[in-house]
């Protein structure tokens, strides 16, 4: 009897081999006139060039949005997007928000009760009441 290999579709395990960042694009919007954009305008000139150079895998777009508060919008590979309003924030605060967008998965926020999740099956197998010796009562 010939041994046949089990046919299985490979599962994506991000980070086991290569790591693909979930955030694919970040849009930055600012206003030239409004005071709430002061920090954002300063950020684009001072801290943003270094951040953008450190993340070549993310596409960045910078565009004005007159008479609106400044916004940073992250777009993810699952199709979702995550906008954060950064009005009246200092450049370093905005940098923190951009790091948050970069690290986010794009999923909806959920309450995490179990800190560890795994796609690997347990080495002990799934418990069954019909197997084993059982426990006499």
């Amino acid at each position: 009897m010939a041994v046949k290999a089990l046919q299985a579709v490979s599962q994506g395990r991000n980070g086991v081999g290569a790591f693909i960042l979930q955030c694919k694009r970040i849009d930055l919007h600012y206003c030239d006139w409004a005071g709430s954009s002061k920090g954002m305008n300063g950020f684009i000139k001072s801290l943003f060039p270094k951040f953008a150079a450190a993340h070549p895998q993310i596409e960045f777009t910078v565009s004005p949005r007159p008479a609106k508060h400044p916004v940073a919008i992250g777009h993810y590979i699952n199709g979702r997007s995550k906008p954060i309003c950064v009005r009246n924030m200092e450049p370093y605060e905005i940098l923190k928000k951009l790091e948050l967008l970069r690290d986010a998965s794009g999923e909806k926020l959920k309450k995490v009760t179990k800190p560890v999740r795994s796609v690997n099956e347990s080495v002990r197998g799934i418990w069954s009441p019909y197997h084993g010796n059982g426990m006499p009562l």
Partner: protein, 413 residues
């Protein structure tokens, strides 16, 4: 109950202000200032450099604004009712029916009463010079003047020669200073020989005849002003009959005085503060070269004088904080010659080429509209064709209203 203390006497004379005595008061104050500060004038002028032409011993005397016409103080005594011979005369029954003569009605609104005194005259030109060549030449001129004056300040001839020389002569004739700049580029600025400098400058300063006429006109103006003051003093003491004539004379004298002063100021401006043409400035920049920009500029008095002179010539005021950081002539030029500040962030990014080396960053100069987004993915052409085929508006809503259901839901009328 609280009792407020009463005023014990009349208000002091210094608090009261009356127009005719204003000029005399200021003159008296100036006279006191002259006597008290004349002893220290010499030492003060050695320490603080001024950019205006003044005599060594003289102290600035406060003068009234030129052409100012104070409201006339004339008054008339009305003829007694029983002595009126005019048959058409009807006595007034009410205060409102009385005719008003004189007073301050419309005096403040009439600009002719202020003369040149009302016009604001700034220290430097109102509009800043932006041409880089002119700024560079102005910096060089200011530095040379500062250099010469700091060493020859006590000499009135040298001082006047420097300050009254124009653009071209000042820059071109100080070849000795230029030689010093060029020979020792990294050393502290050195002074040239005084006699050499005066001789060079006097060649290009005002011709002697013109200077004499200018001095004569100044004397005439001063004499006229003194006469005017006397007229005013007499005018107060005399009766109403003579005041009218004298007021007329005074007004004429004031008008003439104002005209003379204006002409004088204009001449002075043309002489010293006229801006050099850009082409001439560019030629001078080429001639001067760049070596002089390496000269050290650490002497604070020299630097301050140069900054003050630059402000007078170009209208650029250098803040103290930046003035401290300026250590060479080149950095002074760099501080002045700057591209105009960008009004928009996108322009600034483009000018500074911040994201030039980053392929993952795209900067848009204007708002990215939904149509722009469709165009980016190449879908807009298809959308437009389909909209046109269906007879729908491509941009906007045309005359199509909102859905009627919306009104039903919101209850809006």
């Amino acid at each position: 109950m609280r009792h407020l203390p009463r005023l014990r006497g009349a208000v002091s004379a210094s608090l009261c202000c009356s127009s005719p005595s204003h000029i005399r008061t200021t003159a008296a104050v100036a006279a006191v200032a002259t006597t008290s500060s004349s002893t220290t004038a010499q030492s003060l002028q050695r320490r603080t450099l001024s950019t205006s032409v003044t005599d060594v011993g003289a102290v600035e005397v406060q003068t009234p604004p030129q052409g100012l016409k104070p409201p006339s103080q004339k008054w008339q005594v009305a003829v007694r009712p029983d002595q009126i011979t005019d048959p058409a005369y009807v006595p007034a029954q009410d205060g409102l029916e009385l005719e008003e003569d004189g007073g301050l009605d419309g005096w403040w609104e009439n600009p002719a009463n202020y003369g040149v005194g009302k016009e604001w005259v700034g220290f430097g030109p109102a509009e800043k010079v932006t041409d880089p060549a002119i700024l560079e030449v102005a910096t060089y001129r200011a530095l040379v003047e500062a250099l010469l004056l700091s060493q020859n300040w006590s000499d009135p001839v040298a001082r006047e020669a420097v300050l009254s020389s124009g653009w071209g002569p000042m820059v071109l004739t100080t070849t000795a200073a230029k030689t010093k700049f060029h020979n020792r580029p990294k050393s502290t600025l050195l002074c040239v020989d005084r006699e050499e400098m005066v001789a060079a400058l006097q060649k290009h300063a005002l011709p002697a005849t013109e200077r004499e006429t200018q001095l004569e006109s100044e004397e005439q103006v001063e004499t006229a002003f003194a006469a005017e003051q006397e007229v005013e003093v007499n005018g107060e003491a005399e009766t109403a009959v003579t005041t009218e004539q004298q007021a007329g004379v005074t007004e004429e004298a004031e008008a003439a005085l104002a005209a003379e002063k204006t002409a004088e100021v204009k001449e002075e401006d043309d002489l010293t503060e006229g801006v050099i043409p850009a082409e001439q400035a560019q030629a001078l920049v080429k001639e001067l070269g760049h070596e002089w920009k390496q000269a050290n500029l650490r002497n604070p008095v020299l630097k301050f004088f140069a900054a003050k002179r630059i402000q007078k010539l170009t209208g650029h005021k250098i803040p103290d904080g930046k003035l401290v950081a300026i250590t060479t002539a080149g950095s002074l030029v760099k501080e002045l010659v700057k591209p105009p500040k960008a009004k928009k962030l996108a322009e600034e990014i483009e000018n500074k080429e911040i994201f030039q080396s980053l392929p993952n960053v795209k900067v848009f100069p204007r708002r990215v509209t939904p149509i722009d987004k469709e165009k980016m993915v190449g879908r807009w052409k298809v959308i437009r064709e389909e909209l046109e085929r269906r007879g729908l508006p491509v941009i906007g809503t045309a005359n199509i209203d909102n859905a009627i259901e919306k009104k039903w839901v919101t209850g809006a009328k």
